[in-house]
């Protein structure tokens, strides 16, 4: 017993003495002084925040969100907002108007920690650097907030670092601010960022012009909300009456003016529209998204194909000729293709135009569309795209005889319309192209819509390299083309109609359109049941064309408050090429997608619901958004 006691005392003594000197700063942990006390430390701190910015890029997944580093990005791409909103067609992505419950107050807290504590380290910096870093933090916070504002309208505005242990429920359960105050808060943050940052930064990091670009986009969103929410007819809803969803229409011009001014500021920066590959405007438009030295890029999100890769190349082009994963998951819809200058596929009598070759469809096509999509005859990675749906033995009548591809149409009887799979032949003539459109296969790895996406495709890699998580194109978050479109829309809304069309002309000049400057037309467009001038409608359509599959369209139609009208039993159409056997010519038929699938967004899509899990924690978030 005594022995044991001695041992115990010995051990106890050892433990106590060894604890003696341990109250030191651990050397292996980066604490606040290391992170906030040096520029490199701050950069490290910000890197994690940049990584989580709400950017709807290659890895955005409509049901689970931004998913940074998830490593299952191929699922994300085929479940993106482009599919959901009918810009592309392939894999079935159900309408997800309730979003995924984006609620980034953890990231906002991290920014607030910096904003609140950074002043302690002021003496370690010169004034300009100190202000620039603080401005960068405000830019980051604004980015997170606009990611929520465009979904929910008004949200709680948290600027302090909350103390979850000692804080009272009154302090912690922050109620929603009005939508007006939320957008104004974003404005103030960005104003501070613009005023305090310089005009240059390393790629992937913000500077004065990046902040101005975010200002341009988000203030345009706010202006639309203020001007068009009234047409939803939701005045009776509690959240609308309290200003939590919707902004008074009298504020619209205030926000459009902010967007306009921000766009003008960006133009003072070192940016210009990409024209390096002139005179080939199609090639030029395609390269704009790949050229790392593009003067049009303002801000990008970087990928390296190693630690952070995505699957864009693997999922946009068919396997095995162009990629080596599951193969193509989506294609451009005919509805979208026909928004561009598109050759006529029917003649004056309504009969299908006869083409000598399938690739003749590109004659007279807008170069920008050729830079956006691959059609039959285009080359990629050493192979040629070959796309054909089938063979008509005879086709004598008008295109309407085909009844949008319906099997019930007499001309589509199986004896007259031959469909098939790869390698199948009709009297020695191949029924389909090498890459579709196959009848015996679903949407995956099939030219389901009659064309493929070209925008952002990297032609320099081999088919073997086009595989899962290996794509390394950067995502362009802001480019001057978008800023021009923002400014044009804001200017038009402010009544500067001629100036607005000046910007549209620049965009269409680069695009190679037949008509670069549309005539000013102030007559009313009745497309959406609320009055807008036809030229403003044209500016909106130009945005859909120029920013096709750039993550903009869904937010645009929501914030113009027309998502429920554009996507009202919206049938994605496809471009089906047939060989007419009796004539030896090709025709193109406008068909409804073969799944007979339509897309419908309810009116409630104008706002996402505040996540129920958050309301359960904080009932001050009530009332819920309209129609939820």
């Amino acid at each position: 017993m005594k022995k044991k006691l001695t041992l115990f005392i010995a051990i106890f003594g050892l433990v106590v003495s060894s604890c003696h000197d341990l109250d030191l700063e651990p050397k292996g942990i980066l604490g606040e002084p290391e992170l906030f006390g040096t520029e490199f430390g701050v950069k490290k701190y910000f890197t994690g925040l940049y990584h989580k910015l709400p950017i709807e890029d290659f890895i955005y997944y409509v049901t689970t969100g931004y998913r940074p580093g998830n490593r299952n990005e191929w699922q994300a791409l085929k479940n993106g907002i482009e599919q959901m909103s009918g810009q592309t067609f392939g894999w079935n992505v159900p309408m997800r108007d309730q979003g995924f419950g984006y609620w980034p107050y953890d990231d906002i807290r991290n920014v607030n920690v910096f904003i609140n504590n950074f002043p302690k380290y002021k003496n370690k910096y010169d004034v300009a650097t100190y202000n620039a870093l603080l401005g960068e933090a405000r830019f980051l916070r604004a980015f997170f907030y606009q990611g929520m504002a465009k979904r929910y309208g008004g949200v709680p505005l948290v600027t302090e670092v909350q103390d979850p242990i000692n804080g009272t429920p009154e302090e912690l359960n922050v109620p929603r601010a009005t939508e007006y105050d939320t957008w104004k808060f974003i404005y103030e943050d960005l104003k501070f960022a613009i005023d305090n940052m310089v005009g240059k930064s390393e790629p992937g990091r913000a500077n004065k012009y990046v902040a101005a670009s975010l200002m341009s986009r988000s203030m345009l969103y706010a202006g639309r909300v203020a001007k068009y929410t009234q047409y939803l007819g939701l005045e009776g809803e509690a959240s609308v009456q309290q200003g939590l969803a919707g902004v008074d229409r009298s504020k619209a011009s205030e926000f459009f003016q902010y967007a306009y001014d921000a766009g003008k500021l960006v133009e003072q920066g070192p940016y210009s529209l990409y024209t390096k590959n002139y005179p080939d405007k199609a090639e030029n438009f395609a390269n704009l998204f790949l050229d790392l030295s593009s003067p049009e890029t303002i801000f990008l999100k970087a990928y390296d194909g190693q630690t952070y890769g995505h699957c864009y190349d693997a999922l946009m082009s068919p396997n095995p000729d162009f990629s080596s994963f599951v193969g193509v998951e989506m294609g451009p819809t005919l509805n979208m293709m026909q928004m561009f200058d598109f050759p006529a596929i029917t003649d004056a009598e309504g009969k299908p135009v006869r083409f000598n070759n399938r690739s003749d469809i590109k004659n007279g096509m807008e170069p920008r569309l050729k830079g956006t999509c691959y059609f039959d005859g285009d080359m990629l990675r050493g192979k040629t795209f070959s796309i054909q749906r089938g063979i008509y033995v005879n086709f004598n009548g008008p295109a309407s005889d085909a009844q949008y591809g319906s099997n019930a149409a007499p001309v589509n009887a199986t004896s007259n319309r031959i469909l098939g799979n790869l390698g199948q032949k009709y009297q020695g003539v191949p029924v389909t192209g090498n890459h579709g459109m196959f009848s015996g296969r679903g949407a995956e790895n099939n030219a389901f819509t009659g064309a493929f996406i070209r925008k952002y495709i990297d032609p320099t890699i081999t088919a073997a390299q086009a595989t899962v998580n290996k794509s390394k194109q950067h995502w362009i978050v802001f480019r001057l083309g978008e800023i021009y479109l923002n400014t044009a829309e804001a200017a038009y809304e402010l009544g500067n109609r001629v100036e607005a069309l000046d910007y549209i002309e620049k965009i269409r000049e680069r695009a190679g359109c037949n008509v670069t400057r549309p005539e000013l037309d102030q007559t009313e467009s009745s497309t959406y049941g609320y009055p807008i001038e036809k030229s403003l409608q044209f500016i909106r359509d130009e945005r859909a064309r120029e920013l096709y599959v750039e993550g903009s369209y869904w937010w645009d139609i929501r914030l113009w408050r027309i998502a429920d009208q554009v996507l009202n039993l919206y049938y994605p159409h496809i471009l089906s090429c047939y060989y007419v056997f009796s004539e030896g010519k090709y025709i193109f038929i406008d068909e409804i997608n073969r799944d007979n699938r339509s897309i419908t967004a309810q009116k409630r899509a104008a706002y996402e619901p505040i996540p129920q899990a958050e309301i359960n924690k904080n009932t001050n978030l009530l009332p819920q958004n309209p129609l939820w």
């Binding site: 319906s406 019930a408 009208q565 039993l569 309810q602 009932t619």
Partner: protein, 231 residues
Amino acid sequence: MFLASCQEVDNWDEPNARLYGNVIDSYTGQNLLMDQNDWQIRIIDRTWEAMNPGTVAQYQSLAVQRDGVYNNSKLFPGTYDMIPYDGPFWPIDTVKGVVLKDKTQQDFTVTPYLQVLNFKATLDGTNLTLSCTVKAPIITGLPNLYEVKGFLSLTTFCGNSNYINIGDYNNLRKSINKTWAAEVGTADSKDYTLGPYPVKSGYTYYVRIGANVNALSRRYNYSPIIKVVVP
């Protein structure tokens, strides 16, 4: 041990009160024509708030059946606020303080935006044509007339929740989205003919027409359902 741990019951009474009633069309005095679960009645349990100070009760939704009847027999007794929400009728006030005990009937009378009258289904071979008169008894303040749509179904359930949802049929709907004055003028009604819908020989269809205005979620006002047997 598992048996033992299952023996415990909680100390709550089961929700055993029944709340039921009709949604009545003020023009016809009959139950509103609708499809099942087109829209819901929202109820808020105010007793919960009284028993738990500081909490905010959130609404529950009661489904309404296609005959305009609702019936829920698994609710907690208490005092409720009730409102038929987001239906195809002019907004009505919340009915406050409905005391729910054992069985409580609460009827609602609503004023539909539109009436779909004189509904006819004409069969010519395998082509089905639908016609009706859309009437707006109240034009002042009426949101845009949005669309007139035929619903075809192979079961007796027919309406926006149950119909043959294919492009061939959907594209035959009449999309309008104009003010009543722009679409109809000063009259209070207008005739519409939809179709012909290609139908299949040997099938029995149940058909009706729905019309809606651009209010809230654009629910439909319906005609009665007609049974069409295609020989």
